[in-house]
Amino acid sequence: MRKPILELTQSELLTADPVFDAQRVRKDFPILSSFVKQQPLVYLDNAATTQKPVHVIDAIRMYYSSQNSNVHRGVHYLSQLATEQYEAARETVREFLNAESTREIIFTRGTTEGINLLARSFGRNHLKPGDEVLISTIEHHSNIVPWQMICDEKGAILKVIPINDAGELLMDEFEKLLSERTKLVSVTHISNALGTVNPIRDIIRKAHTKNIPVLIDAAQSIQHVPIDVRELDCEFLVFSGHKLYGPTGIGVLYGKAEWLEILPPYQGGGDMILSVAFEKTTYNDLPYKFEAGTPNIAGAIGLAAAIDYFTALDMDALIAHEANLLTYATRRISTIPGLTLIGTAKQKASILSFTLCAVHPHDIGTILDQYGVAIRAGHHCAQPTMQRLGIPATARASFSFYNTKQDVDVLVNAVEHVLEVFG
């Protein structure tokens, strides 16, 4: 099998680097040619949300202009059309993830709802007092709080895989934490605060030796790395559409059918039932059992358009471009006096978190904004990560394939200006 691109060394990358034409793809994103504070927008907040190509915007406009109707209900023409489009979107996601069946693709509002769904449904039947759920130190709050809530309710215990100072999971500790009490492992693929790429294949394999199911939070990886759920062999995987160049309010929970079949529904309502009587309700089959109420139809169609757009790009070239961008940015920004990189894992992707001597990240963010540079400043919804590293917050630049070395140059110039303001 080909070596995963993320594991290539820098010299291997350079030789394997097919040219990715960032300037050409930028034209597909209308917002990227806009101006902020009279400066050309330099959008480096892609880990928060990505921009949308015209293909996605058009798909949503077309749906509402000529296809809008409710799904799985009416016998009229438009309802049939909307249903076909919605289910075609599910098939697009299935193929994208290489899932076995569309029964395994649940549309959600996003990563957060996907994890909440699983925490509630899995927790109800599979957690009892003394059981353990295992997460890591570098999780987003959305992969912490739902588990805290269900553990509190069930008397179960939340255990945490520790990290080293570089922001890498301590795999020896992980193995020690796996026991017969562990009922689920839920870890992020890529840390949103630090950019660490976790060794999820290893995590899944080790959890499986003890028959423990694994949930992968792919919110930060789905837009950077090809994901094949059958190759990974994870039981569950979640991501958000809006971080994959799609609309907000739509996301996906993938689950192996054998698991989704035995888990109880999350919410009750229309669409998730076969028949309702006051005495007894029969739930619908997969995937509808987990999709109560009218779904985000336009969102699913927009997500499918985003996936079509994304998969048409040259993936090897894209990955090499993003890796080169991160290397270039890391090298350039490291030369700024007083700047400390936060998160220095050997395997990193697309995220550059840093602090600047005595300047608070929010002051950095405000000044960069004057240069049209959009970054995130704060704790990145990962307060336990920040606490572990002993810092209140960081400034974070996060890259997409449409970013260029020129964007990095503007960033570096703006950060240097922060130092001038603060003397």
Binding site: A358, H360, H362, T366, H379
Partner: protein
């Protein structure tokens, strides 16, 4: 870039670098935490009263330049003021940083606080500037050993 100079005026940068009254008070009459959970600005304010007068004030904590300079300048200006005068300044300060009134018309009362007028051009930073004042308002309003948050 003039807006940036308006925001980060020399006096603000100076108070950020060398905050005044930046210490823990051993036996305060009132202490109150101010916390912005979204950005992590976190301060504790300590107050001593002589009757109705704020006789001493100090603070500790960490946050951005705007919040720290605001806390420092507030501590300097309210020392020796009555609770009612401090309450009046609180309202005036809020009106200045949200752009509701013209600071030029209140220069005498505002003194150095006029430097925060530039914040009104940065809506996302208003809560940084007002966090110390909201906390003070809570403290002179009678709360003790509680906390004030500028979010939610």
């Amino acid at each position: 870039m003039n807006e940036i100079r308006e925001l980060y005026q020399e006096v603000i940068l100076d108070h950020n670098k060398q905050p005044r009254n930046f210490r823990v008070m051993e036996t305060p009459d009132s202490s109150l935490e101010g916390f912005n959970p979204l950005c992590g600005d976190h301060y504790t304010f300590y107050l001593k009263f002589d009757g109705d007068t704020i006789s001493d004030v100090s603070f500790q904590g960490s946050g951005c330049a705007i919040s720290k300079a605001s806390a420092s300048m507030m501590s300097s200006i309210i020392k020796g003021k009555s609770k009612a005068e401090a309450g009046h300044l609180f309202q005036l300060f809020l009106d200045i940083v949200t752009g509701k009134i013209d600071p030029m018309e209140h220069l005498d009362e505002l003194d150095k606080l006029a430097a925060f007028a530039g914040v009104s051009e940065f809506p996302m930073r208003v809560k940084c500037a007002t966090l110390p004042w909201h906390t003070l308002h809570g403290a002179i309003g009678g709360s003790t050993e509680a906390s004030v948050s500028t979010e939610g």
